[in-house]
């Protein structure tokens, strides 16, 4: 899941793959803006067939938090 998420992140922000660690913050470390974030959420929803509630989006600060959220939704 982490590898797939990493690939998706690279699609939306031009960032060195090595920077995409579990602790990386989407906005501060990877340069995400609100558009990049919604693109990523849209791709995650489509790829894993899950629904991400907007109220939860604001709590997804790091790569780890996105992965935890996804694992919880997919399970």
């Amino acid at each position: 899941m982490f590898e797939q998420l990493k690939e998706m992140i690279c699609e939306f922000v031009e960032v060195d793959e090595a920077k995409i660690t579990m602790d990386a913050k989407l906005i501060e470390d990877l340069g995400f803006n609100s558009y990049d974030l919604m693109c990523l959420i849209g791709e995650i929803e489509e790829h894993w067939d899950i629904e991400v509630d907007e109220k939860d989006v604001i709590h997804l600060h790091t790569v780890q938090e996105v992965l935890d959220y996804m694992s919880h939704q997919v399970a």
């Binding site: 960032v15 340069g31 919604m38 693109c39 907007e54 109220k55």
Partner: protein
């Protein structure tokens, strides 16, 4: 009178993170300049014996943010503003009313984001338009400008702000605009109490503003 301003910013050769930083600074700089002009227009001349224009830089130091991160001026509740930036461009709006602004470069977009933020009717409108990229970013910036005006950030579902009734009657490919790029069209959403307008700038940017009635 509302004050809307935009400026092209050269960011070639920067990484995404560097570019974000440069654009962020440039947007605040633009706001600072236009706050001075706005205050002059509004006759904000004196405060405790000090000319207010000299106080503008300190105003920016006093910026506060609401719980959804929307910035505001603590000491000047009568002045509302909002900022936006995208690749190569920054913009701001200053008003006496609640306002939101968003700017984006017209470019390719993933279909998944369209499905996430647009209603079925809006998706249909985009797919039937002569330039899907322009149509998508017209909708994206309108929705984002509303969310920024109400100051709730991404916790507000973008699909809930719907423009299909307002845009469906538009003749594809014939958007009339004035010399400043302003689109001659009254745009409304399903959310009452707010009005919108849009500009197409430099043939590749869409700027949308949302103002509370």
């Amino acid at each position: 009178m509302d004050r809307i301003a935009w400026r092209l910013i050269e960011t070639t050769g920067f990484t995404k993170l560097q570019e974000e930083e440069v654009l962020h600074r440039a947007a605040w700089q633009l706001l600072e300049e236009h706050l001075q002009l706005y205050m002059k227009e509004q006759n904000h001349t004196e405060i405790e014996g000090q000319p207010k224009k000299d106080r503008v830089p300190s105003i920016l130091e006093d910026i506060k943010r609401n719980s959804w991160n929307k910035p505001y001026l603590r000491d000047y509740p009568e002045i509302q503003f909002n900022l936006s930036h995208c690749h190569g461009m920054v913009a701001c709006i200053i008003s006496s009313k609640e306002v939101g602004i968003d700017i984006e470069e017209i470019r390719a977009f993933p279909r998944a984001v369209m499905k996430k933020v647009c209603s079925k009717e809006e998706q249909q409108w985009i797919e039937q338009s002569t330039c899907m990229e322009e149509s998508f970013f017209r909708l994206w910036t309108l929705k984002e400008s509303y969310i920024k005006a109400v100051g709730k950030g991404l916790s507000f579902p973008m699909k809930q702000v719907d423009f299909s009734n307002s845009l469906n009657g538009e003749t594809n490919g014939k958007i009339h605009r004035n010399i400043h790029g302003k689109i001659h069209r009254k745009i409304q959403s399903n959310q009452s109490g707010y009005w919108f307008c849009q500009y197409i700038l430099e043939k590749k940017y869409i700027l949308s503003i949302c103002v509370k009635d």
